[in-house]
Structures are given as C-alpha cells and as structure tokens.
C-alpha cells in the first residue's frame, strides 16, 4: 500500500502526519513530498511543534506524544522503525561532539565499517572539503564554534543518511559564521543528493523562498 502512490522522483514523503499530546493536536495534518537535493524549511512560532515533528520523523519522539499518519523514505514506511534503523541524519543546535574522541574519532564513529585505511582517507577528504585539513588529531574541546558545527555536520553526513534533519543548526552562530556554514551545508546536501528538512526562524535559510508554515500546514512562498 505504501509505495503505490509514491512517484519515482519523490524520495521522502509525509502523509497526513499529526502529533498529539494529551488528546490535543500540536498542528494540523501535514503532507508533503521531497525530491533528492531538496531542502524544505519549517517555520512557525516557538512552541508550535517544529522540533516535535522532526523527532517524529527521526524516531526520537518522547512517549508522552502519539503520532498518526505515514512517513516514507525511499518508499519504506519509517513509522514503526527504531531510530537506529531509519537512516535519518539529525543535526542539533548544540554540536554534541563526543568529548572522549578526537576530531578523527568523532568522524570515524559515524562511518560504516570497512577497511581501516580507507575509512581514514574518507575522514581526511571530508575534513578537507570543510576547510579543516589536518584537524584529525585535535581535541574537539579546542575547536572554535564554527569548526565544531562543521565537524558535527560532517559526522552526520559521513553516516550517509538518506534524509537530513537540521534543528536550528545556525541559531548559535554569529552572522558571518552563519552565512559561511549555511553555504557549506547547502553545498553538501546538493552534492549528496538527499532531501533535507530544516527548522529555522530565519527567512534567509529558505531555499527558493519556499517554506512549510507549521501553523497553516501549507507550503508557502516568501515574497520579497
């Protein structure tokens, strides 16, 4: 039943998704499709349930919430899968780098198993792509805010997720860093050809001025 209506091009789809808390809905039914490389920004006032929606998609929804509707990634229904089996990458506001591992360790951690040297090479390349060449053996606590954010994102991406969720990833960075990092993120997503959902308050984070208004439940376009 789940794959019938999904077209070839659509990678990720939400169908009539609702999240309830104590029998009251947080927002109206949400439905949308995303294709590879597409970034959809979710906007709405604080407390409208943006992070909760991401939690429902990633599989980390707290047990006080219940959720209805369908979540499909490459045609697979994610609804009942444990978080570890969804293959959905999550990037939080905080960097959440593991303090007991160095930069290389943090990145190796998310790489799939395989040949030791090849994995190390992958990390090296990833660091170079982020302008962090030679940072392998640095202690994560010694990094600057922007460097931490980039290592964090690299870590999420090296796990080769099929969908990327970004929960206000730029909000802790200052304006200059924010622009740099946004460009970096968008480039990576484009390059990986995966859909992404981005929770934000900043209109500049919207790709093509499109965004999901969680209050109305519609995809709207921001008019300049």
């Amino acid at each position: 039943m789940q794959t019938a209506e999904v077209s070839e091009k659509v990678v990720f789809a939400l169908k009539k998704v609702q999240v309830n808390h104590h029998n009251s809905c947080l927002f109206g039914e949400i439905s949308f499709n995303l294709v590879a490389g597409e970034i959809l920004t979710i906007m709405g006032p604080s407390g409208c349930g943006k992070s909760t929606l991401l939690a429902a998609i990633s599989g980390s929804l707290s047990s006080v919430f219940t959720f209805t509707g369908g979540i499909y990634l490459h045609g697979r229904s994610l609804g009942k899968l444990p978080m570890a089996a969804r293959n959905v990458g999550v990037q939080f506001q905080e960097d959440l780098l593991f303090p007991h591992l160095n930069v290389e360790g943090n990145l190796l951690f998310s790489l799939a198993r395989g040949d030791r040297l090849k994995r190390k090479e992958k990390v090296r390349q990833a660091l170079r792509s982020a302008g962090l060449e030679g940072f392998e053996h640095k202690d994560v606590a010694a990094l600057s805010g922007g460097q931490k954010a980039r290592v964090g994102l690299l870590r999420t991406l090296l796990a080769e997720p099929e969908l990327l969720l970004l929960d206000e990833p730029f909000s802790r960075l200052d304006q200059k860093l924010r622009d740099d990092f946004r460009a970096f993120v968008f480039k990576q997503i484009e390059w990986l050809k995966i859909p992404a959902l981005l929770v934000s308050h900043d209109i500049q984070d919207c790709q093509n001025q499109r965004f999901l208004n969680l209050v109305t439940g519609n995809i709207e376009t921001y008019q300049i």
Binding site: M83, A84, G89, L96, H100, L101, L108, F109, S110, L111
Partner: protein, 571 residues
Amino acid sequence: MVMVRLLAFKIFIAVVFVLPIAFGLIGTWLPAFGYFPSIGRNSFSWQPLLSMLSHPSTVSSIETTVLTGLLSTFLAFLISQWLCMGLYQGSSWRWLNRFVGPLLAVPHLAFAIGLSFLLSPSGWIVRLISPSITGFVLPPDWLLVNDTLGLSLSLGLVLKEVPFFLLMSMAAMAGLNTDKTLQVAASLGYSHHQAWCKLIFPQIYSQLRLPIVAVLSYSLSVVDLSIVLGPVAPSTFSVLIIQWFGDADLNFRLLGAAGTVLLLVMLILSIGLLFMLEKILRSLAAEWLVYGAVKKKNWWCCFTSAWLARTSALFILLISLLSIVVLLINSFSQQWRFPNFLPSAWSLKYWIKSWHQLVEPLLNTAIIGFSSALIALVLSVVLLEWQSRSMTGQKKQKAAVSKRLLWLIYIPMLVPQVSFLFGIQVLVIGLGLEGNFAVLIWSHLLFVLPYSYLSLSQVYLRYDNRYLQLAEILSGSRLKSLFKIKLLMLLKPLAFSFAVGFSVSVTQYLPSLYVGAGRVSTLTLETVALATGSDDRVTSVFSLWQFALPLIVYILAIAIPRFYFRHCKGM
C-alpha cells in the same frame, strides 16, 4: 589574595586529613618493624615482617582475599554498568533511582547477618522448600556460607557494592548530555547498547575510577562482612590481622602491624594492576570505539535485553529486602528452629528490652552522624563552590591543583582503616582526647567527607552558574545569592549527599572503637558486640535500629525537597 587563600586551604587539608593519617600509618608501622616499647621491644628488625610472611595461614589467606576482592569489585562494577545500560530510559530506571538510597542505607553488618540467614543450609530459602520438596528434616551439611573460596563473601560484597556503583554512575551521568548523545548515536545507526558502550560508558568511566578504587580497597580490607560471610580457616587477610591484633600473646601484635603493611602493599599493587588493565583496555578499545556501527544482531544480544536487566535489578532488591525481612521476623521471634518457615513462638520482649539500653547509643549515633554529615556537606559545598568558580574563571592551572588536592580528601576512603587506626589511637590518647565527642566526630568526618563530596560533585559542578550571576546582579549580595538561589535549587542533591554521609557515619565501627575509647557507645559498637553472642533476636533488634536511622534520614532527604518544592514543577 588567591594564593594566600589557596595556601591556607592546603594547610587546612593537611592538618585535618593528611597529617593524622600519616601519623596513624607511622604509629602502626613502627611495631611492624619491631619497635613496640609497650611490650619491651625497643629495636628495629625485619622479624615481624618475616614471621608474618611465614605464618602458616598468611599465603592462602592472601590468595582468598585478593581473589574475593578483585572478583567482587569487578563483578559489582560490571553488573552496575550493565544495569545502567539496560535500564536507562526504561520504565524501571525511575524506581531504580528511588531504591538506590535505601539500599545504600542497609548497613553491611546487618545485611551480612540477614544474608547468611537466608543462604545457610538451615536458612530461610532451604526452609521454604523443606521438608515439603527436599524432604530435609535436618539441615543438610553443605558448605554454602563461609565457603573456602570466599564465594559467599564475594556475593555479599557484590550485592552491597552494586547500589554504590549505581549511585556513582547516576551522579556521573548527571554531568553528561546522556539523552541527546544517545539520540545522535541512534541517528548514526547505533543500537542503544552499542551507543552506551562506546559513548556513555567511556565518558562516565573517568568519574567512576575513584569509586572503583574505593570499593577495591573496601573489599580487600573489609572485616565485619568477612567475619560473617567469609572463609574461616584461614580467614581473609584483614580478619587475620584483626585476630593477630586481638591475640592474647602480645607478640602477635607485631605480626598484625606487619600485616597492615602488607595489606597496604596489596592494595597499591591491585590499584596499579587496575590502572594497567585500564590502559591496556583503553588502547585496545581505541580502534573498536570508532570501528563503525554493527547493524546485525549479535550472539550476546540476549544479555542486552531489558528484561534480563530488570529481573537482575529486582533480584538484588529482593535479596536485600529479604535480608531485612528475616531480621525483622527474627527480632519478633521467641523460638525459630529448622525447618519452621516462621517462628514457632513470637515475642515483643526483645524490642521492649532493648529500649532502655538503646537510648544512649541511639542518641550518640544520631548526634555523631548528624554533625559529621553536616560538616562534611558544608566542606563539600565550600570546595565545590571554589572549584566551580575557578573553572569558569578559566584558571585551568588552579583547577588542576585543586584536583590534586582533592585526592587528599579521598585518602581515608582509599587506605584500609586497620592500617592507620591503631596509630591514630595512640595519637589521640597522647593528646588526651580519647572519648572526646568532637574528636570522635572528626574521626567519622574523615570517612564521611569523601563520600559526601563524591555524591555531590557532579551535580554541583554541572549547575548553570548563570542563575547565580544573574542573582548576584539583582541582589548585589554574593552570599545571599549563593544561599537563596544556588543552594536552594540544589536542595535535592544536597539533602541526598547529607543522607549518604549520615549512613556512612552510622556504620563506622573501628573509628568509634579506637577513638571512642569505650566512653561513647554507638549503635554499631553495640550491634557488633551483640553479634558475637548467641542471641540472634537481640542482634536483629539492634541491626534493625542500625538500619532504621539512616533509612529515616534518606526518606527525609527525599521528602523534604519534594515538600518544599511541591508547587514548583520545574524542580
């Protein structure tokens, strides 16, 4: 100004904690090297060490001691970590949190007495199935308790130390972003258990190193638990030392003193072994940590099931509970012989009789426990506040210094009590302070402070000092802000730390014996004296009192903050 304060602090720590212990060690070591003028030995020699080593019981006694010490420490640690992994985020985590306190309040001695009554061939478990299932009209002649390998002792130690490790792990986890870390790992394709082993455990381990050493030291040098559950001929090494110290032939005291030297050496070697093992494991695990997620299920997945962890936690709780229940029944029994499952005659006599000899020790125990726990709490807060300020002030070097200083506080917890208390006794008598209440409180404080500090430090240091800064700006008073904002917000952990300290004080036996000089009777002194007698009923009554006192404090420690903040959901 800061330097002066640091110096003053160092001197304070040295005078209060290090000097007396150094003196105690020397006072105990002198006889070990033959110098003991009290019995006419005025010259130094290796003789006591040699006689101690060649005593027929020494070698096998050390073997069992090391075996039980290492085995029980290792198992208790493993089980506690496994329970944390299996139960965290589960429905049982909450009640585990709630039961850790009361479990810690069960004094070792009371627990051991109850446990031996549960497990022995004429004990409660065999009675439950006798004669109906087993057909036993007489208790079987099985060597279950006091076995020669020390397995029953190890079991007792494991059951008693798992709650302590759980408490310490919970405290360590409070300093991490555990939930979010697990989420990140899950989004990277890691199962809960892999994520725990690779991310949470390595991070909390550094906080658990000290508790491990403390438990190791305790397991190697425990006396009361070992007398009740340990092997008899020969006994564990610490019991052998106590035996030598108590031998009517005074020359054996030299052997006892020599034994304490060896015990300390054993402990240092064991700690060295532990650190070496840690280093090896760490280098072996470095690769494994970042090896990537395992997607398929492993053969050991049955061990990771929450069900098994829950059952084990329940089992530990049940055994501890039954040990107390057995004591309770015993205290109300008049006659209770094998194979009766319940006493054949009941009586209130022993509770009523105990009352008039209970008041004084009960009061003393409460006052000493209250004072030492309170002083320890105040000292812990001062230390931690100082630490937390120096951490935010980016004075890294100073923070490192304070860390080294903190090890000094831990010394009384790490060095076996028998190896310095005789020397302390001489010191206290030399100063004419024996039986002095304040000195007795100080001697308890030595052992209470490390536990009190350890149970508070993580939560305290994690506190968001911005609340305090804000309060200081608003009120203009540092002290007022500290008391009215920070400490009040931390009321729950502060109360809990107080309860931990109190229960540590209540169970102290040797300090009360050596420093109290028979002038101050405490519940534990009375209980241990009664435990050498034949009347289980009276012993049970006193053991239960010894348990009730810390239990009440634990319950208050949980109830008072809850009542105080009953209208504040955020607390």
